[in-house]
């Protein structure tokens, strides 16, 4: 594992022990981006729900049964 760039941040020793942040690792960045995208999707849908619910319920009754 390559070391992180020490000049970018001066992390306390214990954080360095916890992890080497692979800032440049494309695989790690891709993995992170996927998780972040999933989260953003999830949060947006969660926020939409109260708004949607009233209409959504009506429409579901029309459509569902």
């Amino acid at each position: 594992m390559d070391c992180h760039n020490q000049e970018e941040h001066s992390r306390p020793q214990e954080e360095e022990d916890i992890m080497d942040i692979p800032l440049d690792d494309p695989e790690a960045n891709r993995a992170a981006a996927k998780i972040q995208a999933g989260f953003r999707g999830h949060m947006t849908r969660k926020k939409m729900k109260p708004e949607d619910k009233a209409e959504g319920e009506e429409r579901q009754e029309d459509r569902g049964q």
Binding site: I18, M19, L23, I35, Q36, G38, G41, M43, K46, M48
Partner: protein, 205 residues
């Protein structure tokens, strides 16, 4: 996120100001990565059922705050998320032809213009499902034991990829860490009766 380059400018550098022939002009800025060819939306075959169209139109309408039956570029990602997709911001930027910040805020698209964008994301081959989240989290599982440290994940999510801010991370992590500060991302949860982290991410699709 969006490169500074104006999409209308030709790819070749064309300095309007007359450059004296003698000056060995160094590159004005490090050459940005060649912009990916914009997605050809006109070639996308839109295949939605009538029910889907109704849902999409309704969601679209919710985002139209101006009343012109359009939404701004910077709303596109959220509409797609509302409709069950999880595009990265990069995916959306590419779809929109790498718009400038100004275009993101001011350019608007109709529902008809939006549909091929949505179709493209829906058709996207690398859509993440449960397994992808598990695999993604596994990358950060130092001990290979099916858990990641909450602290570590916080750092990862705020420094890599498309960074989340603190509030977002708090929301994401709420209730996920066990008493040791670990997140069980696959398999059985310790003793909580809640979904694992990865299944939380897919829960609302």
């Amino acid at each position: 996120m969006a490169p500074k380059k104006d999409p209308r400018a030709p790819i070749k550098k064309a300095e309007p100001a007359a450059a004296p022939a003698a000056a060995p002009a160094p590159a004005p800025a490090p050459a940005p990565a060649p912009k990916a060819r914009p997605v050809d939306l006109s070639a996308v075959k839109v295949e939605f059922t009538a029910d889907q169209m109704e849902d999409y139109r309704e969601a679209f309408g919710l985002f139209d705050r101006v009343g012109d039956n359009k939404v701004a570029y910077n709303q596109i990602a959220d509409i797609m998320r509302a409709l069950g997709q999880n595009p990265t911001n990069k995916d959306v930027n590419k779809l929109l032809g790498s718009p400038s910040a100004e275009e993101m805020a001011n350019k608007r698209v109709t529902f008809e213009g939006f549909l091929p964008m949505l179709q493209t994301i829906i058709n996207s081959p690398n859509k993440a499902g449960y397994e992808d989240y598990v695999e993604g989290l596994r990358v950060f599982d130092k001990e290979g034991n099916g858990t990641v440290m909450g602290t570590e994940l916080r750092i990862v999510l705020s420094t890599l990829g498309e960074k989340l801010n603190e509030a977002e991370i708090d929301a994401l992590m709420a209730g996920q860490e066990d008493e040791n500060g670990c997140i069980n991302y696959e398999g059985e949860t310790s003793d909580r009766d809640v979904s694992t982290f990865a299944s939380c991410l897919v829960a609302c699709i």
